[in-house]
Symmetry: C2
Subunit: 201 residues, 2 copies
């Protein structure tokens, strides 16, 4: 029974991912998710209190993956600049592999813009990444690889760059090889924050 | 008659701005715009072939303002870095003064994501700004103020930064003083692209 319950949960999550992406988060209802997943409403509400809860589960699973990857990269990198460039590459690859999630993420942000409660939830991970990169910048200054910039400002630069690239990858997928662009942009940005600047006079 | 026709056109544009922003581009219909503006459908279609045409007119007016400002700043700035920072400040102030337009812009992008024809129109100005900043970077390298970076990559960095900041200002308006953040971020970014880097060892 436990296994079957897990399968039902997974099927709801997979179906919701597809529907949110194809039709939009806003117009997709719980009834539609249930019908497409072949589960009863009772089974749905056994696992999730609402459609929003499904989305938050998808978002959290995705962010947990990112966090685990960031942690691994940080431990294996010789300095902060290298770590940030590697993180950018990883994010680029995740997005390329699963652009469906990009689309859901934006749709959810649109909702967040109109609903204060959703907004509070949506903004939390973004603020967490800002704090995480500010801490990395502090480490980079302490280890001597980065210039003595203002850590909060440099973190803003990194987070804004990531969001800006994400939006472009979403809206202009054919406009560039975004996996390459993300890595190249972040390398150029980190070069600019480094003590020794490649190509500098 | 000419003057009255101009007034009708302006009233349609102002009303559409309000409705798109309050209720969303998607759900606002031509009938609703006409009712709120107090004009007949005949008068509406005399001025605009469609709701999309109204939006494009709003977008183009806004971009023309930006372009004129950029042109003036470029002529008055001693070097490219100073020009880009001033442009960032101007964009920050425009957004602060009229966040209604930010919201419409994003809504339109959402539509663009689902409709190829709208997408073609929406992506054009963004690509134009990429080309404009690549040209500025080339000038900066030629004048000796910037490092010999790859102009296309540096332009991507600037455009991505602007888009990322715009998104954050839209979704987290209380999270920071965005006018200050935009200028500070762009200054840090341009410092990193400059030959003489403040605070560098």
């Amino acid at each position: 029974m436990q296994q079957r319950s897990e399968e039902t949960r997974s099927r709801i999550l997979e179906t919701a991912t597809q529907l949110f992406s194809q039709r939009g988060y806003d117009v997709t209802g719980v009834a539609e998710i249930c019908a497409a997943a072949g589960v009863s409403k009772g089974a749905f509400y056994h696992h999730f209190p609402s459609k929003q809860a499904v989305f938050m589960t998808l978002l959290e699973a995705w962010l947990s993956e990112l966090d685990a990857g960031f942690e691994l990269i940080r431990r294996q990198s010789p300095d902060v600049s290298t770590a940030v460039v590697q993180m950018a590459r990883m994010v680029g690859e995740v997005f390329q592999a699963a652009d469906v999630r990009l689309s859901i993420f934006l749709e959810f942000w649109m909702q967040a813009h109109r609903d204060v409660e959703i907004w509070q939830t949506a903004i939390a991970p973004y603020r967490r990444y800002h704090a995480l990169f500010a801490e990395l910048i502090r480490q980079g200054i302490a280890e001597g690889s980065l210039r003595p910039v203002e850590p909060e400002a440099a973190a803003r630069l990194i987070v804004s760059q990531a969001i800006g690239l994400l939006m472009q990858a979403l809206f202009d997928p054919q406009g560039a090889n975004w996996v390459v662009e993300v890595e190249q942009s972040m390398r150029l940005l980190m070069d600019g924050l480094s003590r020794s600047k490649e190509g500098s006079a």
